[in-house]
Symmetry: C2
Subunit: 492 residues, 2 copies
């Protein structure tokens, strides 16, 4: 039977990857059915499902409180396919259209199986959240106003669904579902309610408890974990399974250097500083494959105010390079990966330069003056604006197909250029690569064979937003696949 | 003592990753000091060094003959830092300038330790090749003529050293060293001589011998290998070490899907069809970390004829997007990653459209006619050429800094556009990601700890061209780090 686990306030970090051998474990200090490492969005949902399935559940949380990065997030979930909230507010959606959009967004690196699995079950995930106490207000936040309501509206666009070419590839629908809370901290409500729900179903949590390594048998099956609790090494047996939900690795410089070096050029890291890749490393040590490790979300949150979308981005050559109304992830990718981090936004006198990134006006006056000030080869910017305005007169943007809502000629002098370069502004960045898992949560080796007894979810895995990102996808992925992993583990 | 190994003509492919357990090996059928899986460029060099160090060496080759992909290659090696050949032909170079270039080329994903290690020893690598019978002609092939001599010249430019911004970041020097053989098949001479050298020092080779898995002790040390030889499973003990040199994974669709999905959009795969990732999978199974698995070389070999460099690339918007005189890897990357695979080359009537890729003329006439034919928004191409010509009159290219040698106004009608899109032309592609190794060849786990007894080199590893490529780098990396791995393994 499980023993009481005491708390501890400070533990030396000393991660190790290689599993301990079951044969070397003299005695188990603690026994549970399902053991969860990391008590954020994925961990708490895994815990609830496992406990509801009748399992004895113990979660290890390395800080003093549950919630992980999710509790600090905007509490937005990317949900669609025809959720109750979408229906109530009159927005049509289907799993098929949602899947089309996700596959277009992620490109060739999409995890189609995981995307399909999620799209089909996305409406039910919304119901599950509501059943577990998460409140959503049945109100739509207009796309013209942005992606994050200052109020408490529950439904909004949080991606590029209305952007080109997505709006032609899949029927657009608003899929951002935000827990009822004003402003950008709805993660508090979302996680607050889920943590309460977990407590109600008897989930036990050890805080300040550091998962050190998994314990594996000679046949590779994972049967428990070694953790440091109260400064002491404890062995914990997991009769049914171990679930790794410790987050990604944006805070581990060593792992970034090896696996995602391009992400190191962007800052700040987005996520709790406990996202140090420990779960991924434990999983790899147990034989799991880590995939898409180079992928990440580099976000360029330049708007609101949405009026800025009427401006045009240009590069060092004065060329436009991306549609201004795409989701901030696509913009960050374009600036970082295609334009080597240098980007400007051109505004005319009809658009105020105030912006969410604190970007500064770096040149103003005529287009020729801005060309000279920024070292743009003569006529580069002049032609870009001349061509843009000529088509804008007809409400068109044949270069990038910006939505007509945001198109008007830029002709009111003086012009202003905002410097949005990555070394001048914050580009919040987090990792998307991680352990290869089946939708069930089973961790797979490089051949695609499951490591028995080992499960993972959330940023510890390569999730459904494998190689493309919109607001709400990380939290949706964590909570949904956390649930599935908990259910799978408990069923064994 | 080692027994004679019989040959076999056909073996079912049945790779497995997990190592066999040493404790389960009843008896060893064969014993050697150093066991090498894969007898291409890396394998043969590892074999020579190990044998010269006094080790008993056995190499397993899954085909009927040694040579691997290297023997089918152009036999170019990227060597610099002041090689005897560079000096004889009057070209100054130093390890410092070579390192600066490599770090600029690879960007944030560079493996600085490996690059530095190689640059310092690159001149000596040339000497070693010569000492082992590889002939090089002391003649320079002019950069104006290209990167691959139809004749037998030994030294040439094979990268972007003279391109921008590289020529300003590091002192340019020609670093392509090609074995003496006319045309594009100098790999025959390079590998022919190395295979002979290996035979002379007593390296034994088993052909049609399939490495199936490594054998590891409970403490993770690799002590041998299980192989299928003559249709029979054989256990081979390696007293000093196992070296994995089976190539990359461009022919394994499953691995591409999981690790490098973007490379699947390009074809043809470049390399022998034995490059199926088996070495990487065995290494991962033994606890090794695979890094930079998304990286690859996508090559756009549009010139020769070099006269084509006087044209300008343009994208779907009529914009230029890359300097035309960069190495074909940078061009392939730009087309594939930035322009979604769509690219055209504009030529005027003074440049013949014949090209190495078989690209076809898809539009001709005035610039306005080409815009209409290709659906380019009006004035997009017209302005691009107007701006290009205005600066070209002064021999300048402020947008991309193409070398003045290739700059002249494009003003002789009619214009022609070549379609260089990835779905119209061949873009040979191979993988650059693989096992994480120290310069010594030791395979590292995700924490950076060596897996005792396990070594790797060549495309089975993430080599010195970790995330950037020029002609000759793969063969230089294979042969050089193969040698070091052989020496390290033999020394134990």
């Amino acid at each position: 039977m499980a023993t009481e686990i005491p708390l501890v306030t400070a533990v030396e970090r000393e991660w190790a990857t290689a599993p301990a051998r079951a044969a070397d474990i003299g005695r188990w200090d603690v026994t549970t059915d399902v053991l969860i490492a990391g008590y954020g969005g994925a961990g708490v949902c895994a815990a609830i499902e496992a406990a509801e399935a009748g399992a004895d559940v113990l979660a290890l949380e390395c800080t003093g409180a549950g919630g992980g990065t999710t509790i600090t997030s905007g509490g937005q979930l990317y949900i669609g396919g025809g959720s109750a909230l979408q229906k109530e507010l009159g927005y049509e959606d289907s799993p098929e259209e949602m899947l089309k959009y996700l596959l277009a967004l992620c490109g060739p690196a999409a995890d189609e199986e995981k995307c399909r699995f999620y799209c089909e079950r996305s409406p039910a995930h919304y119901d599950w959240l509501v059943e577990h106490g998460v409140p959503f207000q049945a109100a739509f936040f207009p796309v013209e106003l942005g992606t994050i309501p200052p109020g408490t509206e529950g439904l909004m666009y949080t991606g590029s669904e209305l952007g080109y070419p997505y709006r032609e590839m899949a029927k657009p629908a608003p899929r951002g579902h935000t827990a009822l809370h004003p402003g950008n901290n709805a993660g508090l409500v979302l996680m607050g309610r889920l943590l309460e729900a977990a407590e109600k179903v008897g989930v036990r949590v050890a805080y300040e408890a550091h998962a050190e390594r998994v314990v594996a048998q000679a046949d590779r099956r994972v049967v428990g974990m070694v953790a440091t609790i109260d400064g002491e090494t404890k062995t914990i047996r997991a009769r049914r399974g171990v679930i790794l939900t410790t987050g990604g690795f944006i805070h581990d410089r060593g792992m970034l250097e090896r696996f995602a070096p391009r992400l190191m050029k962007c800052s700040p890291p987005l996520g709790n500083n406990t996202e140090d890749g420990s779960g991924i490393r434990m999983g790899m040590g147990a034989g799991g494959a880590a995939i898409r490790m180079n992928e990440g979300s580099i976000v360029m949150p330049y708007a609101p105010p949405r009026d800025l979308l009427r401006g045009i981005f240009f590069n060092r050559r004065g060329q436009r390079f991306v549609a201004e109304d795409l989701y901030q992830y696509q913009l960050g990718e374009a600036v970082m990966m295609r334009e080597v981090g240098v980007a400007y936004l051109l505004l005319d006198a009809g658009i105020a330069p105030e912006n969410s990134m604190g970007a500064q006006v770096c040149a103003e006056g005529t287009l020729e003056e801005i060309e000279r000030a920024l070292g743009i080869p003569e006529t580069g910017l002049v032609h870009t604006v001349e061509q843009y305005n000529r088509f804008a007169d007809k409400g068109e943007d044949p270069l990038f197909h910006k939505h007509p809502n945001w198109i008007r000629p830029l002709d009111r002098l003086p012009y202003q250029a905002l410097d949005l370069s990555t070394d001048r502004c914050a580009y919040p960045t987090f990792t998307l690569g991680g352990l290869w898992t089946k939708p069930s949560g089973e961790v797979l080796d490089v051949e695609g064979h499951p490591i028995k007894g080992l499960y993972a979810a959330g940023r510890t895995t390569s999730g459904f937003p494998a190689a493309g990102y919109n607001s709400g996808m990380a939290v949706a992925d964590c909570t949904f696949f956390g649930r599935i992993a908990g259910r799978t583990a408990a069923a064994l």
